[in-house]
Symmetry: C2
Subunit: 192 residues, 2 copies
Amino acid sequence: MPANPSDPSRRSEHSRRAILDASIALVGEVGYDNVSIESIARRACVGKQTIYRWWPSKGAVMLEAATQSLDPVVAFPDTGDIVADLRVQLLGILEIVTTTGFGPAYRGVIAAGQSDPDLLRAVFDQIIAPNVTAFSARLAAARERGEIRADADVQTLRDVLYGVIEYRMFHAMPIEPGHVDAILDVAFHGVR
Amino acid sequence: MPANPSDPSRRSEHSRRAILDASIALVGEVGYDNVSIESIARRACVGKQTIYRWWPSKGAVMLEAATQSLDPVVAFPDTGDIVADLRVQLLGILEIVTTTGFGPAYRGVIAAGQSDPDLLRAVFDQIIAPNVTAFSARLAAARERGEIRADADVQTLRDVLYGVIEYRMFHAMPIEPGHVDAILDVAFHGVR
């Protein structure tokens, strides 16, 4: 039986998407500080109460909008070449950072999170924890194929790759594809 | 001729230090958001106008207080062993991050900097640029002695070392001395 277009759960899924799309578009246009729950509601054609029913704060909506906009690029390909596959995933993230509202949304969320531990925990749960899981699985395959040392510290490798990207984002330093290659070179070959 | 204790430049140096010491102590006690210019002035026994005369914003005072508290640990020793020397410098920073008001001050400044480009530029000028200079000099010596590859990317190595520490700070993840060893191991030996 086809879903009824006036079905309440369909309508609320429609509103939810409209809110997240409006959030990421607005933050890209006017910056994190200039987005309000009111402006999101207006752009998404919903009431402010609809937003507050689902999210406790602007930071929480923005985090979910950021998470959704990252979604198409977070998966790790597995072609059997770990450096090439990490490069594809990192360049995908760079593309989202530099061409969508993700960059300002994420920077604003992390800034707000410095005085909002619940928001910072939500960043961990929604963005970091799934990445840790997927990264660990992809690197376990690389280890089995002998592409990395048996004793390589996979968690530190993960911290290095995403840490440098976030560091450059938070300091408003440019991040170019060449940085991804340079980070992978240091992390895989070492500077010795 | 000994300086006159009521000399205006001595009095203002005394006030300057009192303001920076009060700032770093207060942020360690009550957190960045709960520190006001007023509370710094009260603790330092100066007028609010004295603070505003020297710094444009709370972020700017906090940045200078943070910079001053880092001062004792930013220099790179040169024993001829680059990994040991970087380890000493990084552990010194970790000590300041975990035992003084530097951690909350720096997190608050970077958070404020996400919507204050002047403040972010001041972070670059006061903290990052001097570190880039000192790091490059120390690594040039290491390269001359053959401790790192001739083609090693020193700027990316720097991004990696401080990037991971800041990443863990901004996500409120613990940073232990073991992390420093693990980062140095990845960066010098690579995971291959």
